[in-house]
Symmetry: C2
Subunit: 262 residues, 2 copies
């Protein structure tokens, strides 16, 4: 939610579906790997497999960007890398501030995936005076009193909140007041922001809870094994791997019907 839209109600022309935008980074990662191996071109089928989606979806996604492929051949890796990077705005430098340098904040500060994608950690900010000046991942921590000044001087528009939940909203308010318009929130709280500000959240405990839901369901299934799928089914050891991303779409039948607990 949030995030994502809130913008113009599906502006004319340039509208790329949010679901597509969310997958572009995935394609970019797969393409970058191919580029490093000096692979010149890829088919939608190959790239889709590498990114963990199905080819129809990938082609449809790319069609929103324009016609960057060659029929009968595939896509030019380098060219696509450039086009997607540009579309995502990664051809420019994005200074980012991380607020809350606890275990998580420190881990994020040292995360290598930042720099490699055009993001630069402009500053680490923490409210604890004892942290001030101490270097974390090679960057000296600054005190939160200077938050506004730091953001203004570096022209920061993206902020990462890794503080305890209790202070997340006030940190958010200060970031927004100082000019930040995009926030990545790791604190387990719902943040309120003015229109025009994007917030994306990452909640570890939520992800685990979703896994637990499905896990619980699996347990109840074992016994009620369905009729089909005789022992002939090849239970290859390491084989039958299915890329996780998309939905399985497996057997034609209806798959296990019910399950359910009562």
């Amino acid at each position: 939610m949030a995030t994502g839209r809130t913008h113009r109600p599906a502006t004319r022309s340039r509208g790329i579906p949010e679901a597509t935008v969310a997958r572009l980074p995935l394609y970019l990662r797969a393409l970058t790997a191919l580029s490093e191996r000096s692979v010149p071109t890829v088919s939608s089928e190959e790239l889709a497999a590498a990114a963990g989606v199905n080819s129809a979806k990938l082609r449809k996604d790319f069609s929103y960007l324009g016609s960057y492929g060659t029929r009968g051949v595939g896509y030019d890796v380098e060219y696509l890398v450039y086009q997607i990077s540009r579309e995502l705005g990664l051809t420019q430098d994005w200074p980012v501030v991380i607020v809350g340098i606890g275990n998580l904040g420190a881990a994020l500060a040292g995360y290598g995936g930042f720099a490699s994608r055009g993001f630069r950690v402009a500053a680490l900010i923490d409210a604890d005076p004892a942290m001030t000046g101490r270097p974390v991942a090679g960057i000296p921590v600054q005190h939160s009193d200077d938050l506004e000044k730091i953001i203004a001087e570096d022209g920061v528009s993206i902020g990462v909140i890794a503080t305890p939940a209790g202070v997340a909203q006030q940190v958010c308010d200060r970031l927004v007041a100082a000019g930040v318009t995009s926030i990545l929130n790791f604190a387990p709280t719902v943040l309120s922001v003015p229109d025009g500000v994007d917030v994306r959240k990452v909640d570890l405990s939520i992800e685990l809870q979703i896994l637990a839901f499905h896990e619980q369901r699996k347990a109840g299934e074992e016994p009620g094994d369905d009729s089909a799928a005789p022992a002939a089914a090849p239970v290859v050891p390491q084989a039958a791997t299915r890329t996780t991303a998309e939905s399985g779409r497996k057997g034609p039948d209806g798959d296990v019907p019910a399950v359910m607990p009562a």
Copy 2:
């Protein structure tokens, strides 16, 4: 993305929509807060605001669980907390293993949100012999050679991968072979798993890239300001706050995938 499915193609009957499942943890968190303040009941409107969604969506979501509300009154907080916890499978204990105890793994090991939701860190595993035996967040790190034994002894079914991308797939294979059927992946790689195994991924760099996309778009908008929205628009200081939450999967206004680093 990702993640999430691979399950049954939306089984009939008792199937709770994936989008709803992704929001249940959100409702649970809001309800828990109300519970701690001893609030007896809430209306869909109030709870929705606290969870960062709209009331119609919340009521629809709850309708999939059953009719737990009282018309003209609202929902009983304690009762709902219980029902949602049960639905998510949080009334039982879920032992979890974290593989890869670097900065991120250590941060996850010390993350408080786990224990408070029925998740117990059963073991920390790392391939570096120098880490073996060293306590992280009060739990001694064990060597990866013992991975299979650890999983079997504790009956672990949920694994968290926080290793470098290069070894994520092999760690994943070992976890699966040892009996793990749900994986939370923080490594920036697409994991292949057999049918029946769930994988959810959290990729920080992807989240930032999505923010950058929208951020870039904002910059280009200023000038070409569109017709509507005359200067009359009330630019309230701290007012017009729009709740952002939600995470879950995609959806219009919604959010898209999930999260973090990687």
